[in-house]
């Protein structure tokens, strides 16, 4: 199918994938055989051998080599999926990666080697943080804070409900079933329930990324997956400790609740501290721009590790750090650093995610399994059931407090989007040697597979079927930004009139606090005083400017709207040409027209008789063509700006100035100046006027050196001195020509 549309001569992707797999497996197995080679060498030294031209010493590069190979494999797989378009549209990437992992694991096992398992140090310390940091740094703060109540309820109460419901029912089932399962006690079941009940951020991200649902649902499910980490940590430790002991007292329960608050708030606090530190550091990096991104990454990672030291919630710490740091860092760092941060985060999180899913597949094949039909099936069913019940029940309560209620469709997506993933697996892996460990692991893996494969694959068609609102892809416009701010103030004001200190009131207070105290400390220079609307506007302008430069064509040219469409009234009002009599006007016009012709003649004569060829015309033709396009945009913009701003005496028309600046100043307007002149006769009144600007001011500069800047005062057209100028002009065409031939190295 896809092969038929491959260009001739390119390697069919499926074949290359297989080849890669084989190569990789061979290398992996070779790595296990390698050590033997090294030992031969010492024995050979005693014989008189020739100088060894080629040696094989795999050992000392082994670890980095294997790591790189794994990562390379993961990324090549990712590449491969997108080459085969049909598959990637139906099956989410996470599923494909797990399948690849299964295959690789299968190969390795078939060869008889021991496949690497997803061990928890690797996962929690290296693979998880980039994903969470990426999510936290780019967390859309506004929808998050607007829905934080709902998210917390789902995260805390929902997870608790899931854990206890599942644990309890599992226990009941185990007791009923008897046999192998009878030895599973209540605490173990609760432990199992707590592991498998948490919605996984990695899986949610991976699947939801591809379906583009609206912001509200996305932030609800995703926010829940992030914030339930605290609950999971507490429950996990609680039950782990006490399943060893065997009983849980009421005191332990109370302590657990206290522990929950410590874990979550502590995590947030640690993250916020590191965030503030990072923001503060970024204030001073204006001279060492290159290392700016590193500060962001390192401070965040330290936040995560510090939280993990105290068994606080590392995920919440990381999120808090990213969210706190971001507005200040973005105000401080250069644009390039911002881009670097963005791309590095996306890159790392992408690699991590890929590796996690592949390892999940490999570990499935590798790990010891204990399959028990009842246990596994009941687990899977219970997961779904408890999730649905939890969501429906909680939504009923939440809707009483929400302004915008959650509809049935929303509830369905929230329930169905509760995917389990690698965190559950790793937590299971972390279990000390519990008698039921393998049983639990098998069940966890099955649940993960079920949610990722079945729910992951079907959620997209379901979203289409239910016509769930999708995300609006358009970037925020300046109008929307203005009105968002306007609305904020309006709603705060109305709340004030009502006398109700609500949501908006506190948000307003926080903003004001932020502006008066925090920003001053954390943002360098004068940007600390910049209102949000202005920073938004500046960013937008810069983005548009960069787009214009990159595309090289004029996106904003006339034919589309430009400033003059909006304010012609202003134009007519602002351009008060002083009243002069009709006769005078005619005379001036005649003079100027002849001047124009003279100027053009001078140009022509210059090019015909001049010794030097016009460099722009001949040598730099292509270059200036390209530049011309760019500068034409600039010029149009300037001209239209010029039109709408009242004729300011100080203002020098750019076209005019060009003629007398030397080339080595490399004013980019030069070529456009030359071109503009040639455009002369066909131009709109705008051109004529600007050309008009040129003639009178020639006078003062005649005596000055070529390349001198024109003094600014003589900008006004049609003044009384005009006829004098005109006389002088006519009298000295030759000087003019000489003058004109002077500028720079022509």
């Amino acid at each position: 199918m896809a092969l038929s549309c491959q260009p001739l001569g390119s390697f069919p992707p499926r074949l290359s994938v297989c080849v890669l797999l084989i190569v990789f497996v061979a290398a992996a197995s070779a790595s296990h055989d390698a050590p033997q080679d090294g030992t031969h060498d010492p024995t050979n030294v005693t014989h008189k051998k020739g100088f060894p031209v080629l040696l094989f010493n795999y050992d000392h590069v082994r670890t980095p080599f294997e790591i790189s190979l794994w990562i390379l494999l993961a990324l090549l797989m990712k590449l491969g999926f997108h080459v085969i378009p049909r598959v990637s549209q139906v099956v989410p990437e996470s599923c494909l990666l797990i399948v690849v992992g299964l295959l690789v694991g299968g190969f390795i096992k078939a060869i008889g080697e021991k496949a690497p398992a997803l061990d928890d140090t690797l996962f929690f310390l290296y693979l998880l943080p980039p994903i969470i940091l990426d999510a936290g740094y780019f967390l859309p703060v506004r929808p998050f804070t607007e829905n934080v109540g709902t998210i917390l309820v789902f995260a805390v109460v929902g997870t608790l409900w899931n854990a206890f419901f599942m644990g309890g029912v599992m226990y009941g089932v185990c007791q009923l079933e008897g046999g192998q399962l009878a030895s599973v006690d209540l605490l173990s079941c609760l432990l199992f329930g707590s592991i498998v009940s948490a919605v996984d951020p990695v899986a949610v991200l991976a699947v939801f990324e591809e379906i583009h649902i609206n912001e509200l649902l996305h932030i609800l499910v995703f926010g829940e997956s992030l914030l339930n980490d605290a609950v999971t940590v507490v429950l996990y430790h609680l039950f782990k400790e006490f399943s060893a002991v065997g009983t849980v007292t009421v005191l332990d329960g109370v302590l657990a609740v206290v522990c929950f608050f410590v874990v979550s708030l502590g995590g947030l606090l640690v993250g916020a501290i590191y965030g503030v530190l990072g923001a503060f550091t970024s204030r001073f990096t204006s001279h060492t721009r290159v290392i700016e991104p590193l500060f962001v990454f390192l401070y965040s990672y330290m936040a995560y590790l510090s939280a993990e030291v105290f068994h606080l919630s590392g995920i919440m710490s990381l999120i808090a750090c990213g969210v706190t740091m971001r507005p200040y860092v973005e105000a401080n760092v250069s644009h390039k650093s911002y881009t670097t941060i963005k791309y590095f985060l996306k890159m790392w999180s992408s690699v991590s995610e890929t590796l996690i899913f592949i390892f999940l597949g490999v570990s499935t094949v590798a790990g010891p399994h204990a399959w028990n039909w009842t246990f596994v099936v009941v687990t899977v069913v219970l997961c779904l059931v408890s999730r649905v019940m939890g969501v429906i029940g909680l939504t009923y309560v939440i809707n009483k407090f929400r302004i915008v209620k959650l509809t049935k469709k929303d509830q369905f997506i929230v329930a169905y989007g509760g995917l389990r993933g690698a965190i559950a697996y790793s937590l299971g892996f972390l279990l000390p040697d519990h008698p039921m460990k393998t049983l639990f692991l098998t069940a966890i893996i099955t649940v993960v597979f079920f949610t990722v494969f079945v729910q992951g694959m079907t959620i997209r068609p379901l979203v289409e079927l239910l016509a769930v609102k999708k995300k609006m892809e358009t970037r925020r416009s300046i109008n929307e930004e203005i009105h968002t701010q306007f609305l904020d103030h309006l709603l705060t004001g109305i709340e004030g009139v009502c006398g109700h200190y609500g949501h908006h009131h506190w948000k307003d207070k926080l903003n004001r606090f932020n502006k008066t105290y925090v920003k001053r400390w954390l943002i360098a220079g004068e940007r600390s005083m910049e209102p949000q609307l202005i920073s938004f506007y500046n960013k937008m302008e810069m983005r548009q400017a960069m787009m214009m430069v990159e595309s090289g064509s004029s996106a904003k040219l006339p034919g589309l709207i430009s400033m003059q469409n909006i304010q012609p009234k202003v134009e007519s009002r602002g351009r008060t040409i002083p009243k002069i009599s009709k006769g005078r006007e005619e005379e001036i016009r005649r003079i100027l027209r002849s001047n124009l012709q003279q100027t053009k003649q001078r140009l022509r004569s210059y090019s015909r008789h001049d010794l030097f060829a016009d460099p722009f015309e001949d040598m730099n033709e292509n270059l200036s063509e390209m530049r011309f396009r760019k500068q034409r945009v600039e010029m149009e913009r300037r001209m239209s700006h010029y039109l709408t701003v009242p004729a300011n005496r100080q203002e020098t028309p750019p076209v005019r100035r060009v003629r007398f600046e030397s080339d080595d100043q490399e004013s980019s307007r030069e070529s456009s100046g030359v071109r503009a002149r040639n455009v002369g006769p066909n131009s709109s009144p705008a051109d004529a006027i600007s050309v008009l600007e040129e003639s009178p001011p020639l006078r003062p500069n005649r005596r000055s050196d070529g390349g001198a800047r024109r003094s600014a005062e003589h900008g006004a057209p049609a003044t009384d001195d005009d006829d004098d100028d005109a006389e002088e002009e006519k009298g000295e065409p030759q000087t003019q020509a000489r003058r004109v031939s002077d500028p720079g190295p022509n």
Partner: protein, 219 residues
Amino acid sequence: MGASQTRTEDVFQELSDKTGFSLEQIRILHRRFRQLSGDEDTISKENLEKIQALDKNPIRNQIIEAFFDKRNQNDGEVGSSREIGFQQFVKVMCHFKPPTLKMTTEDKEAMRREKLRFLFNMHDTDNDGTITLDEYRKVVEELLSKSGAIGLEAAKAIADAAMLEVASINVPHMEPHEFYEGITFEHFEQILKGLEMESRMNIRFLDVDTSTMHCGKSQ
């Protein structure tokens, strides 16, 4: 006393039916109204200007003006009243009601239009049906007014860019000599389509509809 109370209750009931607020919400609003007016039957601009919470608000004047704007009463009249009674007060508050679960898409569209109309009236101060560049500039200036000294240039530039955007979205191909008069209501609706006003322009307080809920909420 009793007679006037039942009369007030009838009035409240009538208001509740007309505007869609619950009786409880109308009672709470009435209490606040009396507080603001100093136990009078009408409030004037001075009463509203005394509210402390509005002091730091950059668009304070527009908000106060909106209460007295006759266009927001949907009577067909224009201009500005000097005083308003409780009915008009509630009518203005109506614009900030959240959508209910039972509303259909058409109802939501109608609600969105109503809220956008309120905003439009706030911007269109001379009531000519369009927001001209000057009016829009004023809006941005007001927004930036309490944010410290940035100068009028920035406000002008932003307002110009915004106007440009509105024009390019709504009237993509204009000749250089054509003039874009101003933002009409249709264009206004178009550019703010993405914001989903019916979900955003709401006050939470008005969402409280059972008597147990407002215990503990400050008035």
